[in-house]
């Protein structure tokens, strides 16, 4: 079997033994998922780029410590979540984690939406940015990271019921925002 057909966990084991090709397969497999998670949460291309690099540097550095007791994607998106929170704290974009992303609820478009607002994709992404931050993050962790409700609850340090509610709200609101494009 070639490395391209191997599981994430096997690839991580190979990489931790010094197989750089295994890492490249992993990176390319999850690159866009992590990217969408980061960019849609921070709403800024340059910041997302920085975070992207930090996340994957951390994956490369901590590969030897990774134990396949959990899915690789859960581990990967936990790193992404933590890096993003650190970045938000550092930039003081929000004063409290409890209000993560809530400022996006106003009607002004975010930086990402401004750049691509003229086309349909831009309008859809702009609608997506209007989701409250906690709901948006829960939704992104599920749809991009394939995390279960329990895993999202653990990553975001929330209860199971709260997480379930956030996901439900996110989908309801997203559908409402996107109904013109359905």
């Amino acid at each position: 079997m070639t490395v391209t057909g191997e599981s994430d966990e096997t690839l991580m084991a190979r990489y931790s033994r010094g197989d750089a090709a295994a890492f490249e397969v992993l990176y390319r497999r999850h690159e866009m998922r992590v990217w969408r998670y980061l960019e849609r949460n921070v709403g800024n291309h340059a910041t997302a780029d920085e975070l992207m690099q930090e996340v994957w540097f951390a994956v490369a550095r901590d590969a030897a410590r990774y134990e396949p007791t959990a899915k690789f994607t859960t581990w990967l998106f936990t790193i992404a979540h933590n890096r993003m929170i650190d970045s938000i704290r550092a930039s003081r974009r929000q004063t409290s984690l409890d209000t993560l992303g809530y400022e996006a609820e106003d009607s002004s478009p975010g930086p990402l939406a401004e750049t691509v607002a003229r086309d349909q994709a831009g309008a859809l992404i702009r609608a997506f940015e209007k989701l409250p931050g906690e709901q948006r993050e829960a939704f992104l962790l599920q749809i991009e990271g394939d995390l279960s409700v329990e895993e999202i609850a653990a990553v975001t340090e929330s209860s199971f019921e709260t997480t379930k509610s956030r996901l439900r709200y996110a989908r309801t609101k997203l559908r409402e925002l996107l109904k013109d494009y359905a």
């Binding site: 033994r17 750089a20 969408r36 709260t162 439900r168 997203l174 996107l178």
Partner: protein, 302 residues
């Protein structure tokens, strides 16, 4: 805020709407980020590999110097040597006895070509064995099997591709087309029996070539793209990645005009949609790529 809204079902189609929007979103991480990440990972891997090697060597060295292990080590070496002596003759080609005492007929092949196949090339050896059988049947050939560089096994990538042609080609016609491409690239040298060569030489699977093609398309690496399309036989130009995206779709999403032209010129299907149902033309229009959209339309994109 954290309660489930009463009377509302979760919007199941929200996921689909989101995925469709994502497919149309041209945003990508910067190429420089990807390069830095992969370089960094490679550097760490090299360090780890070096450490692992040193640790392994060190432990063997220590083991060799531990008196209690010496009998075991020498015993193992002796067993390996004995096994080698017993097994090795089975790998030599069966030499046809020279019946006539007259010198063998002169052969046009070079002296170097007459050297027996080195053991390190089991594929070539297998070929030599086959050739020697054929030679024996014809009775007009040299007495010894001859290794000829011209009949050396074609790279397994081509062999395995040829083996997989019907499956990967997706039909008799494409399989036949693939076969023609394969035949032309093999430069009319008869290919060895696929199953024998396949066992002989390990190589990458054809799916790797498709992944390479997608990477080259995505990065706009036209020389690499051309090299893959010209060199690879039966390459699945419309093979998809995990997201259902073909090389053409990736080139479109990344605004790689020249890569799009090259792929279309090589027969990429402009109407293969990704997993979310988005076609390359839709992606080009949504991404503000009029040149690519025109090229796709000229190629029959709908």
């Amino acid at each position: 805020m954290n309660e489930v809204p009463p009377g509302q079902d979760p919007a199941e189609d929200a996921d689909d709407l989101y995925r469709r929007a994502s497919a149309l979103d041209p945003s990508r991480p910067s190429e420089s980020v990807r390069r830095r990440v992969l370089e960094h990972a490679e550097q760490l891997a090299a360090e780890r590999a070096a450490k692992g090697h040193a640790a392994k060597s060190g432990s063997l060295w220590r083991a060799a110097h531990r008196p209690s292990w010496r009998p075991a080590i020498f015993g193992t070496l002796a067993a390996v040597g004995l096994a080698g002596l017993l097994i090795a003759p089975h790998f030599y080609p069966p030499s046809n006895p020279v019946i006539s005492e007259s010198p063998p007929a002169p052969t046009p092949r070079s002296t170097a070509a007459e050297a027996p196949a080195p053991l390190a090339q089991p594929g070539a050896q297998a070929l030599s064995m086959l050739k020697s059988r054929d030679s024996a049947r014809s009775a007009a050939s040299p007495a010894r099997p001859v290794y000829d560089a011209k009949t050396a096994p074609v790279p397994l990538q081509e062999v395995t591709t040829a083996q997989n042609m019907p499956a990967s080609g997706g039909g008799l016609e494409s399989a036949a087309q693939d076969a023609r491409r394969y035949a032309s690239s093999a430069d009319a040298v008869p290919a060895p029996p696929a199953q024998m060569a396949a066992r002989a030489v390990p190589a990458a699977r054809p799916t790797d070539a498709a992944a390479e093609l997608r990477r080259a398309a995505e990065a706009g690496d036209v020389p690499q793209l051309r090299a893959l399309l010209d060199r690879q036989t039966a390459i699945a130009i419309d093979a998809r990645d995990d997201g259902g995206r073909t090389a053409l779709m990736l080139a479109t999403l990344h605004g790689q005009n020249r890569a799009v032209d090259v792929l279309l010129a090589h027969g990429a299907d402009p109407n293969v949609a990704d997993a979310s149902g988005t076609t390359p033309l839709q992606a080009a229009l949504a991404g503000g790529q009029p040149a690519i959209a025109s090229a796709l339309k000229r190629a029959g994109a709908r």
